[in-house]
């Protein structure tokens, strides 16, 4: 491919064109095209579960043979299980099942906390929310229900939470900070 003579006006112009094109590329794609997360009229629901969980089973007394089998520094009269029960989370929105999941406790021995975070996109307006939590569902655990009606504004956040203290929900208020 023939080369332009070095340092000619045409070569300088070609370099100018190259760097201009490069800068247009960098300038454009560093913030365009925009990505739309929510349509106008849509809103966001955050579902939060954070529960310390309930231990499955009861402590039991060890007999003398079992105690003797333990290392001398590990001998104790009682042994208590560490494993905690899983939890089924069911969410209905406007009487339609939106989400079901059984969460297990964290940790290698299933002895940690139960935690869940999910985000849903909704249309604004009236909302009937029904959250059902069932501890240890496979062992016939009893469900706990939370049902509430909301008026959800567009472009807002609704948070529904289940913790050791029970159910709660709130819509945080917009807190604008002024631009300089």
């Amino acid at each position: 491919m023939p080369k332009m003579p070095e340092g000619t006006v045409m070569q300088r112009l070609a370099q100018l064109l190259f760097f201009s094109a490069l800068m247009v590329f960098a300038g454009y794609f560093s913030d365009s095209p925009a990505y739309q997360l929510l349509e106008s009229g849509q809103t966001e629901l955050k579902l939060v579960v954070r529960h310390s969980g309930n231990i499955i089973g009861e402590c039991r007394a060890l007999d003398t043979g079992e105690i003797a089998a333990l290392a001398p520094n590990m001998r104790r009269p009682m042994v208590c299980p560490r494993e905690k029960a899983p939890m089924r989370v069911e969410l209905d929105l406007n009487n339609k099942r939106e989400f079901t999941e059984t969460i297990t406790p964290s940790g290698l021995h299933d002895d940690g906390v139960l935690a869940l975070f999910r985000k849903f996109t909704l249309d604004s307006g009236d909302l009937i929310l029904h959250l059902r939590i069932t501890e240890n569902p496979d062992a016939g655990g009893l469900p706990r229900d939370y049902e509430k009606q909301f008026q959800v504004d567009a472009h807002s956040t609704l948070i529904v939470e289940y913790t050791d203290s029970g159910f709660s929900s709130w819509q945080p208020q917009h807190s604008p900070r002024p631009r300089l």
């Binding site: 490069l22 794609f29 560093s30 913030d31 095209p33 997360l37 975070f117 945080p172």
Partner: protein, 497 residues
């Protein structure tokens, strides 16, 4: 390759940005570091101060702070671009085979570090884009089964983020780039004379263009982050945030599969496409005089010197087999390769294992002697990675293909012209600055120009050497040049007559 050749038309030799992507990346890193240091002076590490201080830098001191911020942004964008092209180019040229696997594999984690460093910077602005990045990053990491309590709990609403969070962010935004710099240092460990600064003209042009862009289109924040409201629309930096819409659309699981899949695939490339192992260089202590020229010329840092096995008070070259790629540049640097010796013609101290210097000379001599009556005999020396020259073979043209043009001892050209009747020599190979073996073209040019040992003995008297670094695909250009050489010889003869 076609793009490289196209840009060659506009950029003087050695200043083609596509031939200096590593050096350009280093240069951009330093721009980011210097501008980042300036921004750090004025940055406030608090939930309200972060956004306001960045706004203040951008608008109240737009003439310097605004430009610094924009340079910080655009140099980062171009760094992502240069790294991407660098990766594609090295992949295309198979510069990951043999001992070069180290540079390839050590470069893969740098991509993660680069993204982490850059995205950390966006968090600091704490605008709507930062909010989107924070929540999406949380979703990405919360997917991992090792997470006990989801990161997203930290961004539940406006009450869950504290000032101390920004101290952590600034620590990460300084620490990760430092880790990146350390990684870049490791990345170039197995190459010698690594270029970490581009040609001055290119560097100045790049910097100037970025300053102009910073003035024309300054980097701006979106509205302040408000965790009490969802982000509706976000201006995406497609250089770094390209995976975020993917996470939003397909979920974190698919994103992890794609990201880890690409990473593992890149790491496995040298293993899957390992190619045929090339013969490495071997040292013959009987001929090595300990001059260290091969040590100085090796582009892969694969040679070191030790006390000579046979000569007292002399050094001897040692080839590190795990680092040697078999380019043969060391063989071209060996002064004992000269065929003008009275004994053991052309046997030299260091050679490639498959064909030593003496055998190359014999092969060339045999080809030339097949055409003793040739008029205007041209010897064309090329490399395995530049234009293919074997098809040029004729009664008057002898092609000699080596692994790299740097493999040819210059004394061979003296010898073949003086003793074998070669009228002119054309050296061709990879484009300048784009040598497959990094330094072969540059070193051979220096040797021919008497700027580096070993050089031509009788330059301009008996040896007519022309260089044409046409690059891969430049066969037509080389053929034209050979024809031109022969014509020039005839014209010169006519004038003499």
């Amino acid at each position: 390759m076609k793009v490289e050749a196209f840009l060659d038309r506009f950029f003087p030799a050695g200043s083609n940005p596509l031939y200096q992507l590593g050096a350009v990346s280093f240069f951009l890193f330093w721009i980011i570091a210097v501008t980042g240091l300036y921004l750090f002076i004025f940055f406030e590490t608090s939930i309200t101060g972060a956004y306001q201080s960045v706004e203040s830098i951008t608008h109240e001191q737009f003439y310097i702070g605004g430009i610094m911020r924009s340079l910080h942004r655009y140099a980062s964008a171009l760094l992502a671009l240069s790294v991407t092209i660098h990766l594609i180019k090295e992949l295309g040229m198979k510069r990951f085979q043999g001992p070069r696997w180290f540079s390839w594999v050590s470069g893969v984690p740098l991509i993660w570090l680069l993204f982490a460093s850059s995205l950390g910077g966006y968090w600091l602005v704490w605008d709507e884009k930062a909010q989107y990045i924070a929540l999406t990053t949380a979703a990405l990491f919360d997917y991992l089964p090792i997470v006990v309590e989801p990161m997203a709990f930290g961004f539940l609403d406006g009450t869950t983020v504290s000032d101390r969070f920004f101290s952590l962010l600034i620590f990460l935004h300084v620490g990760l780039p430092l880790a990146l710099l350390l990684g870049m240092f490791i990345h170039i460990q197995r190459i010698s004379n690594s270029s970490t600064f581009p040609a001055r003209g290119l560097a100045l042009s790049l910097l100037g263009a970025m300053v102009v862009l910073s003035v024309v289109k300054p980097a701006l924040s979106l509205g302040p982050a408000d965790l009490n409201r969802p982000v509706q629309t976000v201006q995406v930096d497609w250089f770094y945030m390209n995976v975020f819409p993917l996470i939003s659309e397909t979920g974190a699981g698919a994103a992890w599969v794609i990201l880890l899949g690409i990473t593992i695939a890149l790491l496995l490339v040298p293993l899957i496409f390992r190619g045929v192992p090339k013969p490495i260089a071997i040292v013959d202590p009987d001929y090595c005089n300990g001059c260290s020229w091969c040590f100085a010329d090796c582009p892969y840092d694969a040679i070191y010197m030790k006390p000579h096995e046979k000569l007292a008070n002399h050094l001897q070259s040692v080839v590190v087999a795990d680092k040697c790629v078999g380019c043969g540049i060391c063989a071209g640097a060996c002064p004992t390769a000269t065929p003008f010796k009275s004994v053991n013609n052309a046997y030299s101290g260091i050679n490639l294992a498959d064909e030593n210097n003496a055998a190359i000379l014999v092969r060339t001599q045999e080809q030339i002697r097949q055409h003793p009556q040739a008029d205007k005999h041209v010897l064309v020396v090329g490399c395995a990675h530049g234009p293919q020259i074997d098809q040029l073979a004729s009664d008057v043209v002898t092609p000699l293909t080596l692994e790299c043009v740097g493999q040819l001892p210059p004394s061979y050209l003296d010898y073949l012209c003086r003793k074998e009747g070669v009228d002119s020599v054309l050296l061709t190979g990879c484009a300048p600055g784009n040598c497959f073996h990094r330094l072969g073209v540059e070193l051979q040019e220096a040797r021919l120009a008497h700027e580096r040992e070993p050089h031509l003995r009788f330059k301009d008297v008996h040896v007519k050497v022309t260089t044409l670094w046409a690059g891969a695909g430049g066969e037509t250009t080389v053929a034209r040049a050979v024809a031109q050489l022969q014509q020039d010889e005839r014209i010169a003869d006519a004038k003499d007559a």
